[in-house]
């Protein structure tokens, strides 16, 4: 077990060694970055292949394409008939999946550790030969699947179109976060085979990817096999991608009202915030915990516990590469005017912006966040993804210890300053969804 993840003194007890995620790394001549995390706890190997492309890189009239493309990566390649990769991985006790966000597309394969070479063979085959067997039928099939994913996760969900409305209003039309990763139906329908080839050729190149192999493996053997299956793939041009300017700030509250086929109203307050791994991120995350994470949070205490005018509350900060978002979501009790919720949420923000939370409240928020952070790292796969994220987004694979340290260092005055600076009413999008007819989307 080479994972040296030692918790230091945040909660109680003396400081131990600095925490870190142990890894070895190398880079192939074609630019592919490779990390190996050795962990022999269980005879399993995890592969994470991270491409630096997401929905922010999509072009006009093709929203949703990065995610649709992700689906196509599972439809076979030169020597892998459609479905064979899943059959091989499942027979190896594993599975295959991926996710796409505004910034990234991340593939994950899992198998018994003695299938490492087979796993790399499959990955190489689809990275080199995806287009060799690609055709219209595969595109049509996965477009249908994605349209069903959209129905299941958005259209047929209560309040399901809220995220679309928030992003549309929070970011201007010419910014990469204006649209959601799932995309618009018309754009998904317009996607064509030449789009697939162009996207693959531009973004699915070794110099735009990071590979992490984690689990019951030996770094030397990983290096030998990764070299065998990937080193001969040519380096490509650095992908030319859309560039976005920082949009002018929101200076007047944007109020959006919508309806859905739901029983009770829900309000969403959203603000732009700094990007991931910038200085104010830990204070914003602590602020979210204090305001609206769990039963000990201020909004829960006031709106759910004391006044009983809300069913649930949630506050969260989400940092991405271009910028971040701070969200507060509160579901109303039946018969409660959502305007009252909005007013009282505003009062709680004002309180925090005026008076720093005391050290006990800050300590609770930090401890609780730290514990869930550590717990999430129990999974080898989560560690692999986090390591890639540190390397790609923080430019520092050893960021783990620094990340913990900066989260622990947050003070009450910093939380107050973050509330005052970022959660201004004049800078927010205020969305209310009331019971009524399910509203139609507007592009």
């Amino acid at each position: 077990m080479l994972l040296a993840l030692v918790v230091v003194a945040a909660i109680t007890g003396p400081a131990a060694a600095e925490p870190q995620i142990d890894y070895t790394r190398f880079q192939l001549d074609n630019g592919l970055d490779v990390f190996v995390i050795e962990d022999h706890e269980a005879p399993i190997v995890y592969e994470v292949l991270w491409f630096r492309v997401g929905s922010k890189d999509e072009v006009t009239n093709r929203t949703g394409f990065a995610h649709l493309f992700e689906h196509l990566m599972f439809k076979g390649s030169s020597h892998l008939p459609d479905g064979l990769m899943d059959r091989l991985l499942e027979a190896a006790g594993g599975w295959s999946n991926a996710f796409t966000s505004s910034d990234m597309t991340v593939y994950q394969n899992v198998a018994a550790s003695n299938f490492l070479e087979q796993m790399l063979w499959m990955e190489s085959d689809r990275l080199v030969g995806l287009l060799d067997t690609f055709d219209q039928a595969k595109l049509d099939n996965q477009r249908d699947v994605v349209l069903n994913e959209r129905r299941q996760s958005y259209e047929n969900q209560p309040y399901g179109l809220a995220s679309l409305l928030l992003q549309q209003n929070l970011w201007p039309r010419d910014h990469g976060y204006h649209w959601t990763t799932i995309g618009l139906v018309a754009d998904l329908k317009a996607a064509a085979v030449p789009d697939v080839a162009a996207f693959f050729t531009r973004y699915y190149v070794p110099n735009n990817a990071t590979l992490v192999i984690a689990g019951d493996v030996k770094p030397d053997e990983v290096k030998r096999l990764v070299t065998k299956y990937f080193a001969w793939i040519p380096k490509a041009q650095e992908p030319a991608r859309p560039r976005y300017k920082t949009p002018p700030p929101i200076t007047k509250e944007i109020v959006v009202d919508s309806t859905d086929d739901v029983k009770v109203p829900r309000v969403y307050l959203a603000w732009r915030a700094p990007a991931a791994f910038t200085a104010d991120e830990p204070a914003l995350d602590t602020l979210a915990a204090i305001l609206g994470d769990g039963k000990s949070s201020r909004l829960y205490k006031r709106l759910v516990y004391d006044e009983k005018i809300a069913q649930d509350v949630r506050a969260s900060f989400d940092g991405e590469t271009l910028a971040g978002t701070f969200d507060i979501v509160v579901t109303s009790k039946p018969g409660v005017d959502p305007k009252r919720l909005i007013k009282e949420i505003g009062e709680e923000i004002d309180k925090l912006a005026a008076t720093a939370p005391d050290s006990k409240e800050v300590e609770r928020a930090i401890n609780s966040r730290e514990a869930s952070f550590l717990n999430s790292l129990e999974r080898t796969l989560s560690r692999a993804i986090l390591l890639a994220r540190y390397d790609i987004q923080a430019n520092d694979p050893d960021y783990f210890a620094k990340d913990l340290a900066r989260r622990r260092a947050v003070t009450g005055p910093q939380v107050k300053a973050a509330a005052a600076m970022y959660l201004r009413q004049s800078a927010r999008v205020t969305l209310t969804i009331r019971p009524g007819k399910k509203s139609q989307e507007k592009p």
Binding site: G93, E117, N367
Partner: protein, 495 residues
């Protein structure tokens, strides 16, 4: 077996007839066409549990894992689940469990939440049909304080009137919101039809609006008194913990908790009922998809055909390569996902095929599902497909012990079903473990027999929440008989 699927399987290791991409020539690998074989099969020994007994009868299972300074645990309380709800008071078990962390041992609900944050602990209380479970994850440094808090919750819950009223208010709103959750409604309607709508396994564990107001805090207190019996509980702890020290601490805490008048959990009186119809429908106007639940009462966990059934279920609907996923998603493109789930319970539980199908294809999807079930009862599963399912069940075993929490869950599952603690471990009779040996023994004939004996398609009951104006006419052509109708909350509508 559909032609398309047979072809896929035959093609498994064949090379497609396309011109070779010249880039592969640069790899220096002479034969790209065959997957490289695996190296030697690794050995896997599941983590071993140390079993002890506390003075008051609580069984203690400890699994040491010192790789990270964290601990997970579950206190398993048999007989405190939804199946023990008194008739007409559906949701009482859930309400009782909900109240445990809403004030206990002199701490208010908020103080309990704050203490968890301070400790870096997270405590959750929940129920399933057959049990209640109090679970916690924490840092090993604060384990003692976390255990003390857990002990307060289960030993000294306050059941204060004011907190109980507030929690009831939250439950009331959640039940009002049920109409917004069509998947839940489709499941409720199906379970009601399979077991009887007010029966132990047939009523929703979260309760129904019509019965909520009859439930009082006194009911919760009495449910707690009768059903939270330390003599029948098991505490499973995994992580960075010293068994002897833990035992010592528990002796003065949880182990010193004595009660009188509590019951022993009895097997729930859960029997299959006569469904009101084969087709159960809920009209949800404007639904973009139909939420579909198709099921029947399956076997119980003690059934000797357990392994055969699990292989059958894996082939049909577990994983991406299952027949349901391949046909409904990868070939027809009419869904995002489909699966077959068996709830293994103390008494026979539901076997359910679950999916959400785009509205215009609803009848097609239902017809396909029935056809796939029939096919499994009529035709041997091809060898490659059978092997894939069995190997998956065997080789995925280590992942069950991936985290402390999942290790705890695996052991709670053994306890719940009265299986030995070393169930997955190698033994003289079966060196790679008796679980592995039992999976290996399953044959294509066995799987076919499951289809015939346990899952004959005419027994399947079909519950659908969708836009009836759009899906009704096509569904009517499936000859499923006169449907029974339910409202958006899953309650029967008068004919």
């Amino acid at each position: 077996m559909t032609r398309a699927l047979s072809i896929l399987l035959v093609l498994c290791l064949a090379t497609p007839a396309v011109a070779e991409n010249p880039l592969f020539g640069k790899s220096g690998i002479s034969d790209w066409t065959k997957p490289p074989p695996p190296t030697r099969e690794p050995t896997f020994r599941p983590p071993v549990a140390k079993r002890m007994k506390l003075a008051n009868g609580i069984a203690l299972l400890v699994i040491e894992n010192h790789t990270l300074p964290i601990v997970s645990m579950t206190l398993y309380v048999p007989g405190a689940g939804a199946a023990s709800d008194p008739t007409g008071k559906g949701g009482l078990a859930a309400y009782t469990a909900d109240l445990l962390d809403e004030g206990a041992g002199g701490l208010s609900a908020i103080a309990i939440a704050e203490e968890q944050d301070r400790l870096g602990a997270s405590i959750g209380v929940g129920i399933d049909t057959d049990s209640a479970q109090v679970s916690a994850s924490t840092l090993s440094k604060t384990l003692d304080a976390t255990l003390a808090l857990v002990t307060k919750l289960v030993k000294q819950p306050a059941f204060a009137d004011e907190e109980a009223e507030r929690v009831k208010g939250d439950r009331r709103t959640s039940l009002e919101q049920r109409r917004d959750r069509p998947r839940e409604v489709a499941t409720i309607v199906l379970n009601g039809a399979l077991f009887g709508p007010r029966s132990p396994y047939g009523h929703p564990g979260s309760g129904v609006r019509e019965e909520l107001e009859t439930i009082t805090v006194a009911d919760a207190r009495e449910f707690y008194r009768q059903r939270y019996n330390p003599a029948t509980m098991t505490l499973v702890v995994a992580g960075d913990v010293d068994p002897a020290a833990l035992r010592k601490q528990l002796d003065t805490g949880l182990g010193a908790w004595k009660v009188t008048g509590a019951r022993r959990a009895a097997k729930p009186d859960a029997k299959p009922a006569k469904p009101p119809a084969r087709l159960l429908l809920v009209d949800r106007k404007g639904a973009a998809q139909s939420d579909v639940r198709i099921g029947l009462v399956g076997p119980d966990r003690k059934d000797p055909r357990y392994f055969q059934f699990e292989v059958f279920r894996t082939v049909l609907g577990d994983g991406f390569t299952s027949r349901l996923m391949q046909r409904l998603r990868e070939q027809l493109g009419i869904t995002y996902g489909a699966s077959a789930v068996m709830s293994w319970r103390v008494a026979p539980g539901p076997f359910v095929i679950a999916t959400a199908i785009q509205t215009p294809s609803t009848a097609t999807g239902v017809q396909e599902i029935i056809r796939m079930v029939d096919e499994l009862a009529a035709t041997d599963v091809p060898a490659a497909e059978l092997d894939k399912a069995k190997l998956n069940m065997i080789r995925a075993l280590p992942a069950q012990f991936d985290t402390n929490a999942s290790t705890v869950a695996a052991y709670v599952d053994l306890v719940q079903h009265g299986l030995p603690d070393d169930y997955y471990a190698p033994r003289a009779a079966c060196p790679s473990g008796c679980y592995v040996a039992a999976v290996r023994r399953v044959t294509a004939k066995d799987v076919k027999a499951i289809g015939k004996q346990i899952v004959p398609s005419p027994r399947l009951v079909i519950s659908i929440v969708g836009d009836l104006e759009k899906i009704g006419p096509e569904l009517a052509k499936l000859s499923l008989g006169e449907p029974a109708m339910f409202d958006l909350y899953g309650m029967p509508l008068a004919k």
